[in-house]
């Protein structure tokens, strides 16, 4: 193993890791937005919205994220959607993550005992007031861990955007292989950096979970 080489290219990988982190943050934010909207649709009292939510989830969980990215980035221009690689990566992965988060958020909300809602309604709270004051604060606490799992998956999924030539960690590794012919070292370096990002994120999620948990 060529440790010298790894130490030499390491700063460039670190720079690429920041792109991976930026991608992850933006994707997570977009995913949460889509997840919240998706969950709201799936829990709506209107059949059409429920159907729309269910369709969204089954399409984006039912096809490979890579295909979704290809359709958006390579197929997009054909139907008038012009995005640069980074934008396509964030939007494509965000919509994909949103489908998984929809189910996470919905699952947490429906797991709250209906007696909670009943108690709130009995006091005279409206449906919306009961949701924001009673159901959601409890559901939000339950969401932290499973959303953490979604986040973990999403960070790893950012590697896919290398395929549409976003210069992030995986793409950088591939590029250095082209000049060094050392795939073992280059991918290992990328892998270690991914692991650090995931580890730190996981600790953050665990900390948040402990903090908000109801004693």
């Amino acid at each position: 193993m060529d440790i010298d080489l790894m130490l030499r290219v390491y700063p460039f990988f670190l720079e690429a890791a920041w792109i991976t982190i930026l991608l992850s943050v933006l994707t997570a934010l977009l995913g949460l937005t889509f997840g919240a909207l998706g969950a709201a649709a799936r829990l709506s009292r209107f059949t059409s919205l429920r159907l729309l939510g269910a369709t969204y989830v089954s399409i984006f969980r039912g096809t490979p994220a890579l295909i979704q990215l290809f359709i958006l980035y390579f197929g997009g221009p054909q139907v008038g959607i012009q995005l640069d690689a980074f934008e396509a990566g964030v939007i494509g992965l965000g919509i994909n993550a949103g489908a998984y988060m929809t189910e996470t958020i919905r699952g947490a909300i429906i797991s709250i005992d209906k007696g909670q809602r009943e108690a709130a309604r009995t006091l005279g709270l409206s449906q919306l007031q009961a949701f924001y004051k009673v159901t959601l604060p409890q559901a939000a606490r339950l969401m932290v861990r499973p959303l953490g799992v979604n986040l973990n998956m999403l960070i790893k999924a950012t590697a896919l955007v290398a395929a549409i030539s976003v210069v992030e960690l995986t793409y950088t590794a591939q590029r250095y292989i082209g000049s060094t012919y050392k795939p073992f070292e280059m991918f290992l370096l990328a892998g270690v950096l991914y692991m650090i990002i995931i580890y730190v994120t996981g600790r953050g999620v665990a900390w948040l979970d402990r903090r908000v948990r109801i004693t």
Partner: protein, 256 residues
């Protein structure tokens, strides 16, 4: 103005799930300050009847009136929501499983709805929480979370939460059924105190002794109908119907 005997009126209440009739044409009048117990085997429809009074379970037929206002009015969705929320503010309810909000302290459980719906200031809410929690003997636990309280303590906080809205009527849905036997009496004490203050109460219960000692009237329900009703001395002491006798015999033989 309505007669005082008509404070709560249930007129021809009927409820069915498909072909299953849970409530079959039940009528009941409760006067202001009266305390009515509803007893009967499980599946008799007693909880459904109670939950119909504040429309947690909507009736399929019949009317519920409180103090001259129809609770289950026919209105378009939005208007009905507004109407029922106003009605529910006047009807306190206590559940078998307490249903305290676990993410709020006892204080917050009590003050959440009054702050939100009646616009209480922080000082007013604080005074209200202290007053209501003191009434149920829970003042020392004002900043405890439900998970830090025993079953009996939780139920007392739940009663304080309902009372904080200053209701005209209190509904108790098997308030002591989920409690360990040694915790039942502290909750019964609180309910007795309310009775002494002439709170109008409708109580679904399995506790015959409590019903006998506190209530003005007892309704025995079975299979969706009121089989027998009257003052407790009569229903417990000299039941007229065979079904009532059979039920009471069983309850007395194996109280749960």
């Amino acid at each position: 103005m309505t007669e005082s005997t008509d404070f709560v009126q249930i007129r021809h209440a009927q409820k069915s799930f498909g072909t299953l009739e849970v409530l079959k044409d039940i009528s009941l009048n409760v006067a202001r300050g009266q305390i009515v117990a509803i007893i009967g085997p499980s599946g008799s429809g007693k909880s459904t009847l109670l939950r119909a009074i504040n429309d947690l379970d909507a009736l399929t037929g019949g009317e519920v009136w409180l103090d001259g206002v129809q609770v289950n009015k026919q209105l378009p969705h939005r208007q009905y929501e507004k109407h029922i929320n106003e009605m529910r503010q006047q009807i306190g309810m206590v559940f078998q499983h307490f249903n305290l909000f676990p993410h709020m302290t006892a204080r917050e459980n009590v003050t959440m709805a009054p702050k939100m719906l009646k616009g209480l200031s922080a000082e007013e809410a604080d005074a209200l929480a202290k007053e209501q929690l003191d009434k149920v003997g829970m003042l020392e636990r004002i900043d405890y979370y439900p998970s830090q309280l025993s079953g009996g303590q939780k139920q007392r906080v739940a009663i304080a939460r309902a009372l904080a809205m200053n209701p005209k009527l209190m509904l108790f849905d098997e308030a002591t059924s989920a409690l360990d036997p040694e915790l039942v009496s502290e909750v019964n004490q609180v309910m007795k105190k309310l009775a002494e203050e002439h709170m109008t109460m409708i109580i679904v219960t399995h506790e015959m002794d409590f019903a006998a000692s506190v209530c003005d009237r007892v309704l025995f329900m079975d299979q969706g109908v009121v089989v027998e009703e009257g003052p407790p001395e009569q229903v417990f002491g000299n039941p007229q119907k065979a079904r009532t006798r059979a039920f009471l015999r069983k309850e007395l033989d194996n109280p749960e």
